[in-house]
Amino acid sequence: MNYPVWFLPQLGGGLLIAVIAILHVVISHLAVGGGLFLVVTERQAVKTKNNALLEYVKKHTWFFLLLTMVFGGISGVGIWFIISLVNPAATSSLIHNFVFGWAIEWVFFIGEIVALLIYHYRFGKMDPRAHMILGWLYFIFAWLSLFIINGILGFMLTPGKWIETGNFWQGFFNPSYLPSLIFRTSISLIFAGVFGLVTGAWLKDKELRRSVFHLCAGWIYIPLVILVLTGIYYTRVISAESFENLFHFNRESGPFIKLIIVSSILLFGLGLFTLVRISQPLQKVGAILLVVICFGWMAGFEYMREIARKPFLIYGYMYSTGIRIPVTGQMDHYQGDIRGESAGGGCRDIQTAVYDLSYRRWL
């Protein structure tokens, strides 16, 4: 099916997707790692009979619920809205190929929502063991939702054998599935630590604040090693063309590679402040700054992933313009039109003609 094009010459549809997606992706990663952070910290508080820490977990749960369920939920719908406007063909392709993948994802979402709502509203009103079971269930559902979405995201960059067979599972468990899953799990744990600092920095009790900051530092730094190793692994599973395109050929990637390097240094360098004694106002500024850096870091990573698959939206299957590669006859029409227009002096060059015709054809 062909769709009308939403032509945005000044802004570009990609930028609109990026703005919504980056905001959403940070929060959706937090929704995974933060779930583990909540239940593990609660377990520690119950085990050590630390009521102050337990109170912190309770407050953090409210902050976490608002951020992930409300903002995360709305921005998630926003992504569907914007991708279906900017590139309906690719959106349709993802829906048609993975309809039951999305259905599974929604089962996990419902599990997440129910678990977190009960976890929050029954905090302190259930026996700790039962409450922690809910916490664990929340984390399991959240991680499983990552398990599903990761397959579909990875498919767009490395569809693997799906290109030849059209097999659901070959597209889902594609070559970049595993490195991406471990990489994103590590990110989610790091973000859990960073966002833990936000509520931690506002605690009045100085000692508690210090212990929460130490705790969060562990969440930021321990997954770092896995993140770096899987980052290298990730670059090894993408195609040689994608690798070259990302790191050598496409100059568009330069600023984003710099962004991810600078934000990594800032995130893991500035994060050290959590281990030293500084005043509360500085702790607050530091925590907010780290959150902002997380968004920058995610922007760098997601843009790099997007650039790696250029000029495709689904690698080797569909171009960024929404045109599929194997549509036989279609390119013959284009070539005929290009030849006709070139002969008539109607276009500046072949590239302009392809661009014009591809848009005109779909209008």
């Binding site: 089962v107 996990f108 599990g111 678990a115 026996d127 409450h131 809910l134 559902f141």
Partner: protein, 70 residues
């Protein structure tokens, strides 16, 4: 508002008729090879049942769990 809705419906239908006429001699969806795959549906149904059981378990836990914390 109503006229706008009717206009969109008419536009969609004209577009569909134009496409069908244009592709009549070139392509028909029945030419595509149809390879069905049941396993994703089976996977979904399994997850759906387990999900429902999990929801039941969580809600039951909420009502049954003792109140011991302050």
């Amino acid at each position: 508002m109503i006229l706008g809705g009717i206009e969109v419906l008419v536009m969609v239908n004209i577009r569909d008729l134009a496409r069908t006429a244009y592709l009549k001699e070139i392509f028909h969806p029945s030419q595509l090879e149809n390879v069905s795959q049941q396993s994703p549906l089976v996977a979904f149904l399994l997850v759906f049942v387990v999900g429902l059981l999990a929801l039941y378990y969580m809600i039951r836990l909420m009502f049954k769990a003792k109140t011991t914390q302050s």
